[in-house]
């Protein structure tokens, strides 16, 4: 009975692992495409050839790329992320604190956006074609079709410039009181919530509408069930899988949003670290940050797929 589900889930996990391998391969080779020799860049133009050769040997740069890739992967698996070029610190130390900051931001955003998006998405689907539905649809399409930084700048204009509730772009790194914490989190969370909710509302609405279009819902309608009974007893339990799938998928939009939001609000998270690392061409740092993002993304889309498999009653 449980076999088809189990094998499907296992094959999905296997695909995820293979994908991760291909992705890490792509990330590694994209960053080693760098024109110019890393050792020369690090030591500057005035370095003696002996010094460059010494550093190349010390950094294993004289080895074939494939061997370096394997070395890098094995290091990653052991938790050794390498040493930053820019300030000689272990990458793991640089990332740890920043990573927790980003997780906090993502967590708070999810806490706000999931209930808001589910409520709006499900009610819009229930009242399909009504004025309310049309307003929700137009607003979500509006948010989806503008860049994330425009959502952020609009939020600043509204809440900081016109209403003067929150500071505009300056953020203290040390947080002493609750009100300071609220001020630091408010603007990034508002922006991300808008971006993620818009995706989630759209997908949730589509999932519920798809369920409302099924023959058994039409049957319920024909036998005279009330609208709320149709939605809550017949449609929603069956739409639960697609809805959770939609939630997981739209949370993956957090990754793109977080890069913009952390940059614009100067939030000390991992995305800001990565954008700064790109500016200084700090390759080990970029590679590690990129891998963290890819793993997060892959985790979310794999989770979405597995939930979809588990919630399909035909496989049970």
């Amino acid at each position: 009975m449980n076999n088809p589900v189990l094998s499907l889930v296992l094959s999905r996990l296997l695909i995820a692992v293979v994908t991760l391998l291909i992705v890490s391969f792509a990330v590694f080779f994209a960053t080693t495409l760098l024109p110019g020799d890393t050792a020369t860049i690090l030591l500057g133009q005035a370095a003696t050839p002996e010094a460059v050769a010494g550093l190349r040997a010390a950094m294993h740069l004289d080895e074939p790329a494939l061997l370096r890739f394997l070395r890098w992967i094995v290091g990653l698996l052991h938790g050794d992320l390498g040493t930053s070029y820019a300030n000689e610190m272990p990458v793991a130390d640089l990332i740890a604190g920043r990573f927790i900051n980003t997780l906090k931001l993502a967590g708070v955003t999810a806490l706000f956006s999931v209930p808001i998006a589910l409520t709006l998405g499900i009610t819009a689907a229930m009242l399909r074609g009504s004025l309310y539905d049309r307003i929700v649809t137009v607003l979500t399409i509006g948010v989806i079709s503008v860049p994330e930084f425009m959502v952020a700048t609009s939020a600043v204009l509204i809440f900081a410039v016109y209403l003067k509730w929150l500071p505009a772009l300056s953020f203290a790194n040390e947080i002493h009181t609750v009100s300071e914490m609220l001020r630091v989190y408010a603007m990034p969370v508002i922006t991300l919530t808008f971006v993620v909710s818009a995706q989630m509302i759209r997908m949730t609405r589509a999932a519920v509408i798809e369920t409302l279009n099924t023959p058994y819902v039409e049957m319920a309608l024909l036998k005279g069930a009330s609208r709320s009974r149709i939605v809550f007893r017949h449609a929603l339990p069956n739409a639960l899988g697609p809805i959770v799938n939609a939630v997981a998928l739209s949370l993956s939009y957090l990754l793109g949003g977080v890069i913009i939001v952390e940059t614009i609000f100067n939030y000390p998270g991992i995305a800001k670290l990565m954008v700064d690392a790109v500016a200084t061409r700090d390759l080990p740092l970029i590679q590690s940050c990129a891998m963290i993002f890819c793993v997060g993304y892959l985790f979310l889309i794999t989770a979405a797929d597995i939930i979809a498999i588990l919630s399909n009653p035909r496989l049970r």
Partner: protein, 289 residues
């Protein structure tokens, strides 16, 4: 099709049913008009800009809207109106080039995979799916970190990011067409793969593929603007709309028009493409009924 058949929703749906053909046309037309407007601006920008883009013409920086400076001035006192008109060249041009490459490669590969099937199909699908599981912005960041940012690199990167999506879409459509009788007939006739793709499959998937191209154009405009906003896209002295927002972000606390107008330009372009695509199929459907 229509599930909301309860008494409350019949009257508005019938009303919109009789009017929809006309009204949707208008909305789609507005979208099309704005797109054409920006396309013309992109072509003729050097002729119509009132001030040279690099020249400091205003005594004030982050100047307000005025008769001389329609959209205010930027952080150096340059004319925003001229800069936005010139920015259209980069935003529209780069996105158009990238979407053309992405959709052409994706659709051709998708049709080949669907017609050929077998190991080629599996290999291509697996590989492109893996590529698809790298978030777009991240891929852009990594590539720009590695090879630096220039316009050809940007165009290629953006197209590589969107080839997998285009491939998936075209392949799914082509697989359906591939199962039809006229394809079998053509195969029996002894036609080669190229003929099948060009004369049998392509004409049948052209409509949806064009709609998909529009949607992907929106994604590319957004991603390009995002990258430029991060300082990884179009490099100074040139500036697309995303780079214009980045340059002038310092004016945000004062609510400077220089921050909002480039964003509004992006929004007007992406929303009108969306409007056009959403309304085109409706129009076609209404005509066929």
């Amino acid at each position: 099709m229509t599930m909301t058949t309860s008494s409350t929703s019949t009257s508005p749906s019938r009303k919109s049913g009789t009017r929809s053909g006309y009204r949707f046309n208008i909305v789609g037309m507005i979208g099309l008009a704005i797109i054409l407007f920006w396309a013309l601006i992109a072509i003729f920008a050097p002729v119509i800009i009132p001030y040279p883009v690099g020249e400091i013409v205003d005594v004030d920086y982050f100047g307000p809207l005025s008769r001389e400076f329609w959209f205010g001035s930027d952080y150096l006192g340059r004319d925003m109106f001229s800069r936005i008109l010139m920015g259209a060249r980069y935003t529209v041009g780069i996105s158009l080039a990238a979407v053309t490459i992405a959709c052409f490669s994706g659709v051709v590969l998708g049709m080949i995979a669907a017609v050929a099937g077998g190991w080629l199909d599996t290999l291509l699908s697996r590989f492109l799916d893996a590529l698809n599981s790298i978030p777009g912005k991240l891929f852009g960041l990594v590539v720009v970190a590695a090879v630096g940012s220039s316009i050809p690199v940007l165009i290629l990167t953006l197209s590589v990011i969107y080839i997998p999506g285009s491939y998936r879409f075209a392949r799914a459509l082509a697989v359906n067409i591939n199962a039809m009788d006229f394809i079998t007939v053509a195969r029996i006739r002894g036609e080669n793969t190229f003929y099948l793709i060009r004369s049998e499959i392509l004409p049948n998937i052209a409509g949806p593929v064009l709609a998909d191209l529009g949607l992907r154009f929106v994604f590319i405009v957004l991603l390009l603007s995002g990258l430029s906003f991060l300082g990884l896209g179009v490099q100074p002295p040139y500036a697309d709309w995303g780079a214009l927002v980045r340059e002038n972000i310092g004016g945000l606390p004062f609510g400077a028009p220089a921050v909002m107008f480039p964003s509004l330009a992006i929004a007007s372009l992406t929303i009108s493409v969306n409007l056009l695509i959403d309304n085109l199929p409706q129009k076609i459907r209404d005509r066929s009924e």
